[in-house]
């Protein structure tokens, strides 16, 4: 009867100590396992939720800075006046999955549009240019070249030649922009490259007069667009 002798031996000391240790170990292990499963479950749930939230934040930032965005002029160039008109409804139209979610869009710290309080949400930072338009008017004699102001995106030209003078050609940096042998009358709009320094030359049949140049200029400043989403 070996089991009986073992039991008898165990009861005297070693067996008891091991049993208590085993019991304690089981209790500790069970507790830790429950804790681990609980935390892992939370982590997996969070892991499922975070990518969706991040995707929504990235998508919203993308669509706001896209060339076809509601407030953009070109890729990554936002119109300052249009930014002021942005509403939470526009956000839902851009990213339908954000309907009802807490969203905050800031430009260099100033709120642009927000809904709810997205604490602990996902944040995406974009770098953008904020563009402001202005008009710059100047009048010059017809026979002198005119340097267009920096940042001009288009010019509106109207000619006031002396009677009998025919304005037939306008050149921008040597390239013919407007031409009419019988005379350019009225106002003409010519788009120009914002990035180039352009000189405008008016060619006439020799007479005097003036040209009024109304340049539509655009100035840009760098800013950071911070989009926070708590979906």
């Amino acid at each position: 009867m070996s089991w009986r002798s073992r039991t008898a031996e165990g009861l005297t000391g070693r067996g008891q100590a091991n049993l208590i240790a085993l019991g304690a170990a089981l209790v500790v292990l069970t507790g830790l396992s429950l804790l681990a499963v609980g935390l892992a479950g939370d982590a997996v749930t969070e892991g499922d939720r975070k990518p969706l939230e991040r995707h929504a934040a990235v998508a919203l930032a993308d669509r706001l800075t896209d060339a076809d965005g509601p407030v953009s002029r070109r890729p990554n160039v936002l119109d300052r006046d249009a930014l002021a008109t942005l509403t939470p409804g526009d956000i839902d139209r851009l990213v339908p999955s954000l309907a009802g979610a807490a969203v905050d869009v800031r430009l260099d710290g100033r709120p642009v549009v927000s809904r709810g309080d997205p604490v602990g949400g996902t944040t995406v930072v974009r770098v953008v240019h904020v563009a402001v338009s202005a008009t710059n008017t100047s009048t010059a004699p017809l026979d002198t070249p005119v340097a267009l102001p920096r940042g001009a995106v288009a010019v509106r030209l109207s000619f006031a030649p002396t009677p009998g003078t025919v304005v037939h050609t306008v050149r921008m940096d040597g390239r013919v922009a407007l031409h009419d042998p019988s005379g350019l009358a009225g106002e003409w709009r010519v788009p120009v490259s914002r990035l180039d320094a352009v000189t405008l030359v008016v060619e006439t049949d020799g007479g005097g007069g003036t040209v009024t140049v109304r340049a539509e200029t655009e100035s840009t400043t760098a800013a950071r667009l911070v989009v926070t989403v708590d979906a």
């Binding site: 091991n18 892992a40 770098v127 953008v128």
Partner: protein, 141 residues
């Protein structure tokens, strides 16, 4: 010389304690793997890529002091043009990116910015002009 009694007492106490400690370490390791690995697969990389892309886009939209095209164009046009606009290129890129982000801009004629670090997440974007490719790298300094 050791007494047999003290030897046996020590062995009795340490083994279960050791086992318990090992079990705790094992369970905590499994827990840690779940808790810290699942949630963060590359948010940093996405953000850095986006910032590099924005910088490349905006450098192509940035006028130069002498008005000969965008900053990206003049930096790629010729070695002389690159040298002349090198300072502007660094300053404009620094103005664009947040202060915590370091950068490197590589053009066919040379690079500006900091040396590329190893072992950190890097964001990368390519801008193209008619004279060549410009690679913008970003990382958290």
């Amino acid at each position: 010389m050791r007494e047999p009694a003290s030897l046996s007492t020590r062995a009795q106490l340490s083994l279960p304690a050791l086992e318990a400690a090992l079990a705790v370490v094992l369970v905590v390791a499994v827990l840690g793997a779940f808790a810290f690995d699942v949630t963060e697969p590359g948010t940093t990389r996405i953000q850095l890529d986006v910032l590099a892309d924005d910088a490349a886009t905006l450098l192509a939209d940035e006028p130069t002091p002498d008005g000969g095209g965008s900053l990206l164009e003049v930096a790629t046009r010729s070695p002389e043009s690159f040298e002349r606009h090198r300072g502007t290129l660094v300053n404009r890129t620094r103005d664009l990116l947040p202060g915590t982000v370091a950068f490197r801009v590589e053009t066919p004629h040379g690079a500006v910015g900091y040396g590329l670090p190893s072992g950190v997440p890097l964001g990368r974007a390519v801008g193209t002009t008619r004279w060549g490719r410009v690679v913008v790298w970003t990382w958290y300094a």
